[in-house]
Each structure stands twice: as C-alpha cells, then as structure tokens.
Symmetry: C2
Subunit: 310 residues, 2 copies
Amino acid sequence: VLALVTRLDAEAEQDWLLRLQAALPGEEMRSLRELSGAQLADVEIAIVADPDPADLSRIPDLKWIHSLWAGVERLVSELDRDVPVVRLVDPELGRVMAESVLAWVYYLFRHMPEYARLQRERSWRKLTYRRPDEVTVGLLGLGALGAAAASRLRDAGFNVAGWSRGPKNMPGVATFSGETGLDTVLARSDYLVCLLPLTRETAGLLDASRLSRMPEGGSLINFARGPIVVTRDLVALLDKGRLAHAVLDVFDTEPLPSDAPLWTHPSVTVLPHISAPTNMDSAARIAGENIREYRRSGVLPPSVDLGRGY
Amino acid sequence: VLALVTRLDAEAEQDWLLRLQAALPGEEMRSLRELSGAQLADVEIAIVADPDPADLSRIPDLKWIHSLWAGVERLVSELDRDVPVVRLVDPELGRVMAESVLAWVYYLFRHMPEYARLQRERSWRKLTYRRPDEVTVGLLGLGALGAAAASRLRDAGFNVAGWSRGPKNMPGVATFSGETGLDTVLARSDYLVCLLPLTRETAGLLDASRLSRMPEGGSLINFARGPIVVTRDLVALLDKGRLAHAVLDVFDTEPLPSDAPLWTHPSVTVLPHISAPTNMDSAARIAGENIREYRRSGVLPPSVDLGRGY
C-alpha cells in the first residue's frame, strides 16, 4: 500500500490521488487519512506533499518517503527517524525556474519597476539601456535548477557568474566555489539570484556583510528560501539606496503576514512563492516512474543526504 | 560633403557627428547648420535623425538620404521630392527589439501586473501558471525586427503566429498574410505584439472590430507606432475586461501628454518609447559602411518604397 501524506486541503489531496493512481496503475494508492491502524502496517512508501511529521510516525514499517516537491528541508529537519527521503527532480521544474529567473532578471534589467514608478508620476523619461553583455548575473546554487537558469541567462547574452558548494564546470559560465569564490561572485553581480537549498550553512548566508560586497545599485532575486537572506539587513541596504531592488518570492513566514513591512517597501517586489510552481502531472508521473523502478529492481532513487540537508 | 540633418539638441548632434566622422574617415562630415549656401551645393548625401523636411529642401543636388533610425514614415510622408530614403537596418536593433518583446511577453505571461496589484492589496494569492506551449503569441509584422522576435519567442517555447503583408516562411512559426490571415492570427493571440510599420494601410488597423477577434482576456503589446492602434477602441475593450492588459511604448502624440488618461489606466503599462533604443555606435558604423560601399561601387543600399511607405 502507498500512502499519500499531506496537510493540503481535501480538493488538492484528491487532485494528487487521481494523478498518482493514474501513474501507478498496479498499486493501491490511498490517503493516510483513510487508512485504519491495521492497514498502516502494510504501508512501505509514503508519498508526501507538505506532510505532518507526526503522521509519518504513525507508519510502523515505512521504508522510504517520496516527496512531490523539490524543497524538503523542513521535512528533513522535522523527521525523527532515519528513513530515506527522495525529493522530486523534475526537468519541467528546471525549465520553469529558468524561465522565472530570466523573466524577473528582465524585469529588473529592462527597468520595469522604475518605469512603473515613472508612470505613476506621469513622467516620460527614457532610462539608459545597457546591453546584456554589459552586466553580470550572479547565480547562487548550480544544482539542477541553477544549471538550467545559468544556461538560459547565458543564451540570452548575459555574463553569468555561478557559485556552488563544490567546484563545477559549465560552458560559458564563470563558476566559483568556496568562501572566496562567493565573495568574487557577489562583487560581480549586478543582479544576484539565489537558488540555494536551505541548510545549516545557507541559513542567514546573505547578511549585511555579504550583500554589501555587491556593486552599488545591484539587485537581489530570492527564489530559494526566505531564511537564506537576513531580511533586516537587506531592507537596510535598500533603504540606503546601496541596493536598488529586491524581488522576493520566499519569506521567513509564508504566507507573508499582511502586516509585514515588505508588502509596501517601494524597492521590494513581493511574489507569493510562484517562481517554480509544481506541475502536478509531471510530478505524479516522475514519482510513479521512481516507484515502479523500485518495485522492479528494489533500487531506490538517489535520496537526500540527511546530514547535508539536500 | 555629407550633411547631418537633425532637430536633435546640440549635444546629441555632436554625439552623432563624432561617431559618423569616426565611421567615415575619408569624408567631410558636417552639420547642416554649419554649412554656407555655397557649401550646400556640394552635399550629395544627407544623414538624418529626426530632420526638418524644410532643411532637406535647402540641399539642391541631394542624391539620397540615409536615416539613422529604422522608422521613417514621418520623413517619407513629409518629403516633397523624389529622393531615395535608406532606413537603418541594424542587427543590434533586431536583437534588442526581440529582447523587449520577450521581456514584456514574460511580464504579461508571468502575471507581473496582477502580482503588483496583489502586492498593493497585501494579498498572498498564487495565479494559475500556464506553460508557454499552452499559449500563443501573435506577431504583426515579420520584417527584420518581427523575424528576430518570432525566433526568440519560439525558442522560449511559445506558440508563435506571425502575420505579414506578403507570405513568409519561418521554421517553427505559423505564418499568415492577407486580411483572412490577419483574422486567424488575431483569433489565436493570447498576446498580440504589434511591430508593423506605420503606413496608409496600417494606420487605425487595430480598431474595435479587429481587437474584438482576440481571445477573451487577451493582451496587446504595441512596440510599433501609436496610430496603428485606435486608442479609444482599445481602452473600451480594456474597460469592459474583454482584453486584460496593454503595454504601450508608442502613442499618437509623443511624449504622451501628462493629462492623457492612459497614464492612470489600471490595465495599461505606459513606456516612454524605449523598446528599441538606437545604438549610436552600431548605427553610425552601419551608415558608414553603406556610404563607403556607395562611394566604391555607386550602388545605393535598398531604399524605402515611397509608395508603400516602408
């Protein structure tokens, strides 16, 4: 028996169940909520979308967990047992994240926030156009999502500087790693895009000292996780005009509370965590393939390193 | 003698003169303002940037005119003599226009105006994501700029439907021509991008009847010339919610007068004619190459069809 474990509402749960059943025709696919205590003993694999960790503890013989999402840091940190967690690696997720990165880099690069302000002031003023090869986009994180974003930015003509934990090589992208490498990327980034996983090492990484290494008038895009950026430090740099703008899709608390000052900051664009929406069809299909392969060969897909956190 | 004829201010005129002199080392390059009556008789070629047609009439033996801009419809309509007009065909202009088209298609496609509104309302709400292959961008005009834009949109995964005066073929782009073809493109265009030249045929082309052929909730981007769109008709369709949004970079009168209602229309993004800023360096270089080729071979670059208007 496969159990779907989620805190999503009943409608979203049904959407997932239908797609997972279609992707796993031979399996008995059930919501955890519908399973009796006796049935729980038959569950080997939990498929999860924002699960309550206490629910997972109710499954006595759980062999592994397949997440339907790419980000699993909360699940991993809350899990009180040593069971492999497989996160979703969906090429469609890479494509849509790369598209988001390019779209919101263009948003900043083509001065859309400033032109919106000029429109409110009824002011007809052309801002200086720089070509993409005259600016640099810094990318923090060169995993599946970061690599897809780096290629799209490079193909759009931008200089791209990428940073990752360990050394990587990408044609047409200047790559860096380690603490010194981070400083180099920060110093070059007219536009800094954060795609890092949230781990003990990355929490609070982008603080006043690191953000201050960026060029005067630089801008930040955070499409990763809120706590990687120290919001107070970012806002101070925006207030001083040291940084020009921030596009924030992720926050320390989500949904962003309605009294949060970020909503009304003139140099902040608030997005409701939409940079890489899950495609339910392809997510269910990929989870289905992974589980069928496990049934056939007994081999688990690569799972998250619980120590490293991703 | 080559004469630069322009209504631009002295500083802009100097910028052009320096670049043109650098691009045409053997030539005597002068501003018309500096030429005496006797010297005017020696001028064969006028290089123009927003010229006063009366100034051009002062040159008795003018053989041809090289515009530093791509759009020459006003010059052609005001010119009272039959002298060839060569307009600027700059690959860099195609690149930057294609970039503008992609950037503002993304602006609409990724719901940036709606997310800005939701931010003002402090409302955390995810809008439905559609993939680029689930929508169609219609392109009116498949000249050098339109063709460059069509390729970029196609490569970004959008369905692209292109319309031009005469039949054209472009790999991966559905192309149409003629009045029936125009109706087909309009009916398919979730996003309609206008890149047509302004001529007698295109003035007022996008009126209530044609815009009403677009799908419910479609959006318009006009990066061509203001008078191609009937503003009153467009605003009526936006007011009704029949069309969702318009990005307007060009207007009947430019600069857009500060009392124009378009400035404050919630479904209109006003841009100050910045979709394809002239790159002075490459424009001067290309004009220089054309004039040197003419001196060498006596052959004029392709000139504008004064009857057709472009």
